[in-house]
Symmetry: D2
Subunit: 334 residues, 4 copies
């Protein structure tokens, strides 16, 4: 971390600052230039509150050189984390396909989709029971009933299940959910993250629509700081000025996150693009970019889906995508 001091800082103020920093266990190096003095802070700066430092009267600007995240940082944990979701491994060379409808709608729908995606090679079943919707008048999910239908589908197919939580108060309902998803709009719901750090279940953390990779990693850090190290990161499209696609899928997040962190990274091409016709090319591209998995919306009758229909694949389309995904995996992992 670098602090640039104001021009008129006195020697006394400078030595006061140095003393304070040393008390926090940091080494300090000083470079005096004509227009400014630069203070280099060396040591574990992840616990330095950058805004507190910035608020000192003599400090002009503060810049981080090293990352503010620690537990999720690959520098301090070089080996890939392998997340285990009820026996399904993700990361460290283990690729996973998660599939299912945006929303659970009925026992028939979820069990039909579950059977078909399993046959095509999916190893986890997704389905939304609590849906965060922009309008209070839109369909909000079947809630507890939806979770129950997912449990039935899991019993029938053996596929572990993934579902989104929108408030820590619903946690008791998620006892049989194998992988708990934190949606994009809750990526910075720090209260929720903190509580999820205290449980023993793997978490699927989605990147917010306008959040940076650093912010995504800081949110994962919240969960790890509580003791839960089973985290999968998910890129699902960010907000840009483009309007033909619903969001812009940032695939460079895959190799970039692999450099920065040891956590597995998966891609959701369905929400990112909002268009069924773009799911196949983006699923293949994500696989070629080295993603540890895919999360794809599949619906047995996309025209009747209660939400997010336009981006769902039919079971046949999904089977077809999976074949090409496997062929690309062979090139990339080979």
């Amino acid at each position: 971390m670098i602090a640039v001091l104001k021009k008129d800082t006195s020697e006394k103020q400078l030595s006061g600052l140095i003393e304070w920093l040393k008390m926090m266990g940091l080494d300090v190096h000083i470079s005096k230039g004509k227009y400014q003095t630069i203070v280099g802070l060396i040591g574990d700066t992840s616990r330095v509150d950058i805004e507190l430092l910035q608020s000192l009267e003599i400090v002009d600007t503060v810049k981080r050189i090293s990352e503010p995240f620690k537990s999720v940082n690959r520098k301090f944990h070089p080996d890939d984390t392998i997340v285990d979701v009820s026996g399904v491994k993700i990361g460290g060379g283990n690729f996973v396909a998660i599939a299912g409808p945006c929303s659970v709608e009925s026992p028939e729908q979820i069990s039909e989709v579950a059977a078909s995606v399993k046959a095509s090679g999916a190893s986890l079943l997704r389905g939304g029971a609590f849906k965060p919707r922009t309008s209070p008048y839109d369909f909000q999910g079947l809630k507890a009933e939806g979770i129950e239908m997912l449990r039935e589908a899991k019993k029938a197919t053996g596929l572990p299940i993934v579902s989104e939580i929108i408030s820590i108060n619903y946690l008791p309902l998620f006892e049989d959910v194998d992988l708990i998803q934190v949606g994009a709009r809750n990526m910075q719901n720090f209260e929720l993250l903190r509580e999820l750090g205290r449980i023993k279940k793997p978490i699927l953390l989605k990147r917010g629509l306008a959040n940076t990779l650093k912010e995504l990693l800081m949110s994962a850090e919240y969960i790890m700081a509580g003791g839960n190290e089973q985290i999968i990161l998910c890129e699902r499209g960010i907000r840009t000025f483009e309007t033909y696609t619903r969001n812009t899928l940032d695939l460079s997040a895959v190799p970039m996150l692999h450099e920065l962190t040891h956590l597995p990274v998966i891609i959701d091409p369905s929400h990112a693009t909002g268009k069924a016709s773009l799911v196949r090319p983006m699923a293949l591209a994500a696989t070629a970019a080295g993603a540890d998995g895919l999360m794809i919306e599949v619906h047995n009758n996309p025209q009747k889906a209660l939400c997010d229909g336009p981006q769902s694949l039919t079971p046949e389309q999904f089977a077809d995508v999976m074949k090409s995904v496997c062929a690309i995996r062979a090139v990339v992992a080979g």
Copy 2:
């Protein structure tokens, strides 16, 4: 609402769609062109799930013509809403200055600041007790203890108090808080909004960092849909590519929101700019733009503030800003 149908839609499919729309109480007008057929939906379309319509096989695109928000819409409620915060009126020509420290730090700090901002013309006292911070290692607020210190300052000065809630589970602690703030990162925490719609206290709803005005209004609609009509909207800067300022204050939101909604609109120049030197010009500009109030960070010792120090004004600077704000109010309201 306009639905553009796919080229190959059959007559039978078209009449099926029309029937379905009429069942939902809508009038339908059809325009057939060479390349596409356009279906106009007329009536109360705020309850039409746009994604559901879009998911129909025969539909190419859907565009809203009228706004998806209803209770907050000025079209259906032309008069300004005047929010009453324990006797302090906001909106409909009533201008309010809210001031205080970013975080409550000690009984001395909050009572000193409270007395000074009251003397300069502030009518509400702000102070954070629960701080949503990007890093789990940063100061998170004094919590219940902070709320207690705010109560003491209120007792001493008579100023009603404003503080941020970050989880509905903390609601019991907010019994004596006069105006409950929903922060930018919780603007789309729909579970929280829904619960705040059920209480009888005024809500200060801040715009999210990358959210549109329509999304802000939809979030206000969540609160109003529950029956709570006492809402103040607050613009506090949005994320842009600019880095010299922390965020970009969108002042055109003031007159634009005044056209779209009857709710009062206030401006927070402190968080928006992140720089004390920009607070004064932006406070004056907000007043000139017609804002219904300002929320300004004031600290008796900004260099020692535990968070957000660089953007706080001293009590003297705040007094000075208030004088010019009053002069500008006279020009604008005149």
Copy 3:
């Protein structure tokens, strides 16, 4: 195109508008609702000036339903355009690899790179002679001398050459350049586009850093409106809030543009990411997404490159990328 009229539009005003629109050769359909009247314009609306229509007193808002671009629109030209660059075909199933240094630096550098990328499978040689740089103090390219060195490298290897033009006044120098590149910062330099529409050379048009696909297509429309139909579109990363990567590569632009236009689409992973370590995964991802080609920076001594060094591959790295690209092409095109 849809025009929503103001509530208080009189019958006389409405019939005046209808008459005017019919004079422009358009069919008009009227839908009257309780709160607004909607006028549907049917026919060739690409020549309707949307801002002119919007400026009419009685018009509230105007929305385009069909695209404002025509010559580049796949709807009116369903077959893929195949661009021929001095014998090298691009588009319609023909994949191209363009490689070379960011800047031409010396005859040795460009001829060495040219020979090596040719051996690895590149069919076009790129090299910048005119460099648009943000700072007037940065290296601006070897200009005419750089073009001359490219010509020598072309003579030696037989590879057609690609270079960027930054002002129409330099056109005489580009006589032997086979493919003229318009850079991201000139994507909306309409004067330049118009002039390039009058020449008979293929154009490589890069998407601007903050431009939408529609704007990219409108810029291509400028060139086609002049009579030049040999255009290749290039996505090279857009500006987002992410800072770990220089820009965000929008790979969904590939299949999306393929739906919207008949022009070929290539990807530049070097400028998009700004990091050599991300070029390989993004090149593979672009190929998997169905791109018609890649443009990759290769330098024989990346550490000494005068500009954009950190994103260049060595010839060995490039050869390795090309092998995997071919394997992925086999899966995708198969």
Copy 4:
């Protein structure tokens, strides 16, 4: 400037780097930490090519501490620049109102508008003769004929004139134009900027739609590097996710630029908002924020304007705005 070196940098490589930097006239300070070595560059770093430094094998990242702009930097030129446009002074306490139609349409239109805005207090007349339009099918301006009409209006009213240049090849036509405008889309047309640096006329430089203040200042630096110091900066709205307004007016740019540079800063509320109803509040807000002037679109018959009609004021509305602007100036400048 700070360069962070890679972990495995050898002593020999380090001393090679130090030698090279000293040859460029810089002082160097070294801080060695456990995980990285930091090299501080002290002296005139504005001429250091940051990408060249970054391309060195041993360098991990480079961060600028001081600004890359020099001639426009207030640090090296503390006094306000006062630009003189044929006798009209701007900056250093001199406030200017520039008004006129978006496009020059006819001798009657421009002379009528000129007379009326002069009467209301405008000191410069604007009018577009060359219009950069997104679509090749939209009205592109009256060109030479439009400039001629502006000259006539200048002769009749005595108001100096402002018009936009879109290619350096049109410079001969601008001999009688008093202030040459560079539009937002040409802010990074470096060829144009360089040429405008060689002439002796004042330049009005508009900020690009997605450009930062630093980039705006670097573009001004291009003009100043050529010897032309008469530059006025103009904020005219930036691209954000908001869609109710055409762009988002960044008013914090006014005080922020005043801290960074000695050049005057004016605001264009008409293009920024795209809505006539927002021009008045934003013009007042800009004045309150301390802008050195305003540029406002006025049309004698906004409903018939050939372009940008919806954002134009009538002469009466403009007169009314000017009255309030003066009252606010009195508060701010007082």
